[in-house]
Amino acid sequence: MRPPPDIGRAVKEIVAKDGQGEVIAVFSRASYVGIDATIVALLSTSEASGPLHARVQNPPKVRLGDRAVVAGGRLYIGGGLVDLPSLCWEPEPLPSGAPIAGILGDLLMHEPVLDLGSAGGGSLATSLERALDRGGIGEACQGIFGRGAGLTPSGDDVAAGLLLADALHGLSDDATRLAIVADAPTHAISRAFLAEAARGQSIEPMHRLLAACALRDLPAANSARTELAAIGHTSGLDLAYGALVGFRHAADVAAAARPARLMTSRALAQITA
């Protein structure tokens, strides 16, 4: 059973100031409204929460190109008022310092399909880890932005996972991550989701999966994975894959940052003996 109607952080920010735009995409389960430079995903309460999501009891039937206006804290689409809930969704917090990558890697069992050409060898994860080591989050994301299939291309979903992990670990700052997203060669809807990941939020099952992994709650983690698998063509699992690579990288960074243990003379003697 889904929680009551809510809006995401970005939607709350959008309706806080007057603006206008139009409906830029309509699908059976969600409609996307471009307002100024960002997006509102309008959907029913049977869908999961998220930072760009406005989950309402009876989503209005909107059409591509319908005018959208935000005025006085209200959202109007095609002349009709959209009854936005006041409840603002916040993701489940992660226990600090808990290992996540291990259990997440064990249960994910997914390999994204990106059109990266036929010349490459090795797994995508290896490629991404090397890019992260060499040029950081920027290089890793730029190599995959816009690649692959789907409304949000698979490459963008993986990049969103990388950005989310980076943001949750605070490896780089918000401005750096948002600058990377601003240049992403992709479309407006995907860029909006990437920007929210760069600010540390993604869709609700993703956060639930990470929290379950941190608590080593396998049934909850598997349940969240199942939900992610139903999102988009492969978007949910691609997102989790990116997060997995990002969390592994964060663990490596944390390990590298720990002070090296001093070798005792006895230990040295054992090695050199």
Binding site: I24, S28, R63, A131, A188
Partner: protein, 477 residues
């Protein structure tokens, strides 16, 4: 192998089908893209797509023949202003204790606040009650019958309640033998058509009946004797070229008419009534509105004589519901009345104060005026986003759901192209583009009258019902 070392082809020529956001993303990246504006019709709903397939398929030849006849009738006939008379003397089937109102038929219990107030004012003016409180009792008891004006060959603006003594314009469409009626416009201020029921509002109805109607009748007689009856749409066509949409703005057309009437107004003399009449006339910039509406009704009545068309022949709102009729059918397809969006409000008011859309004036949009003529009207552009490009977009949208361009209403700023007319229910449902209606906005509950103006967008549900009814020969053919 790093991620960055894997390469896509360096050049690509792209064709994008459907959502434009993908084309825009590719274009932003400097690649060549050809965008094809395509989508599954009508929101991909299977039963609607099936109905469209039937309407555009096996039956399209018959529809096209009927529609061609409707186009000629709407475009070529010249309704003449032949009389102004008490409604009870000319309007068919108007009972002795009956009020006509805008939109689909409605029970008094469901009537919106502005229309209730207007009805109470009309009951008092008709002499059926001494005050509005007594009028409320009569209306609530059902002693006063209510009727949809459109079902009596009549159209009324906003919250007008039309009784037997209300003076109405008579527009004769001699080509088709049809006759349309609309009340003489009440003017601005404390007036019932804006939902007022004050003593001044009642007095305005009495003034129209006792003072304005006999004088207007004299003026029309004078006009007819000197130049023949007024060709209503010919004058409206001049107004369109002078910036009127002949719905929300009729200033130019009104001025043209008053100029024609001037010798006969002067001949009325300088008695108190004539001076009061002149004062009313000088302040009424929407005086031509209802004359154009009567003419438009006579045209749509002629369209209803043609069996088997897919043209929308009635589009009306009563502040509670919105209704359309398709082709020759007398069946109302009814849904909830829409709010008036794209609105400008007087200081201190907002959409929270606004009543739902009301009035029969959308008949003008069906014949190429109003929203269809927005592209040539700077005054209307202010309500559609502010720029002439926004106004042009409104007219362009109407073009996408209409079957023809007018040969008489021309828009100078668009190279004298004709305004679109003959709304095709198939196109409305197929594209999802709902006709836009330029209109006033009334206060929803205070009786404060008009609080703004804007553009209402007709809801799609009535058109869908009309499309499905095309399958029922009895209803349309």
């Amino acid at each position: 192998m790093s991620v960055a070392q894997r390469e896509l082809p360096t050049e690509a020529n792209i064709i994008n089908l459907g959502l434009p956001l993908f084309a825009e993303a590719v274009r932003e990246q400097g690649a060549t893209v050809t965008h094809v504006d395509w989508g599954v019709p009508s929101g991909s709903e299977p039963e609607v797509v099936a109905a469209l397939t039937r309407a555009y398929g096996v039956r399209s030849v018959a529809f096209d023949v009927a529609n061609a006849e409707v186009i000629v009738r709407l475009d070529k006939a010249s309704p003449m202003l032949t009389a102004v008379a008490p409604a009870g003397e000319v309007i068919p089937r108007l009972g002795d204790r009956m009020l006509l109102h805008a939109g689909p038929p409605i029970e008094y219990g469901s009537v919106c606040d502005p229309l209730r107030r207007s009805m109470r004012a009309a009951v008092v003016a008709e002499g059926w009650a001494l005050d509005v409180e007594s009028a409320e009792s009569l209306l609530a008891s059902g002693t006063v019958l209510l009727g949809a004006a459109n079902d009596h060959d009549t159209v009324v603006p906003m919250a007008t309640a039309l009784g037997p003594t209300t003076p109405v314009w008579v527009a004769d469409n001699h080509e088709a033998g049809t006759r349309g009626f609309a009340p003489v416009n009440q003017g601005p201020g404390e007036v019932p058509w804006f939902g007022r029921e004050t003593p001044a509002a009642v007095a305005r109805l009495i003034f129209l009946r006792d003072v304005a109607q006999p004088r207007l009748a004299k003026i029309l007689e004078g006009l007819a004797e000197s130049k023949g009856p007024l060709d209503i749409m010919s004058m409206a066509a001049q107004g369109v070229q002078m910036g009127d949409d002949v719905h929300m703005r009729t200033q130019a057309t009104t001025n043209l008419l008053v100029r024609e009437m001037l010798p006969f107004i002067a001949a009325l003399g300088d008695d108190a009534g004539s001076l009061e009449f002149a004062d009313y006339l000088s302040k009424n910039h929407l005086f031509y509105l209802t004359i154009a509406m009567a003419a438009a009704k006579s045209l749509t009545l002629s369209a209803q004589q043609v069996p088997g068309s897919t043209v929308v022949t009635t589009m009306a709102r009563n502040g509670t519901t919105f209704g359309v009729k398709i082709g020759a059918s007398q069946v109302w397809h009814i849904t909830d009345a829409p709010p008036v969006a794209d609105a400008l409000y007087y200081a201190g008011f907002s959409d929270r104060d606004a009543a739902l859309d009301i009035g029969d004036s959308a008949v003008l949009e069906l014949v190429g005026l109003g929203g269809a003529a927005a592209a040539g009207s700077p005054a209307v552009a202010a309500f559609l986003g502010g720029s002439m490009a926004d106004a042009a977009r409104a007219t362009d949208e109407m073009t996408r759901v209409c079957l023809a361009d007018s040969t008489r209403f021309k828009i100078p700023v668009q190279g004298f192209r004709g305004t679109p007319f003959a709304v095709d229910v198939r196109k409305v449902v197929e594209t999802g583009i709902r006709p836009k209606v330029t209109t006033g906005i009334l206060h929803r509950s205070s009786g404060g009258g008009q609080i703004g103006a804007g553009v209402a967008t007709a809801p799609i549900e009535g058109f869908r019902a009309g499309l499905f009814a095309l399958d029922d020969d009895g209803a349309v053919m």
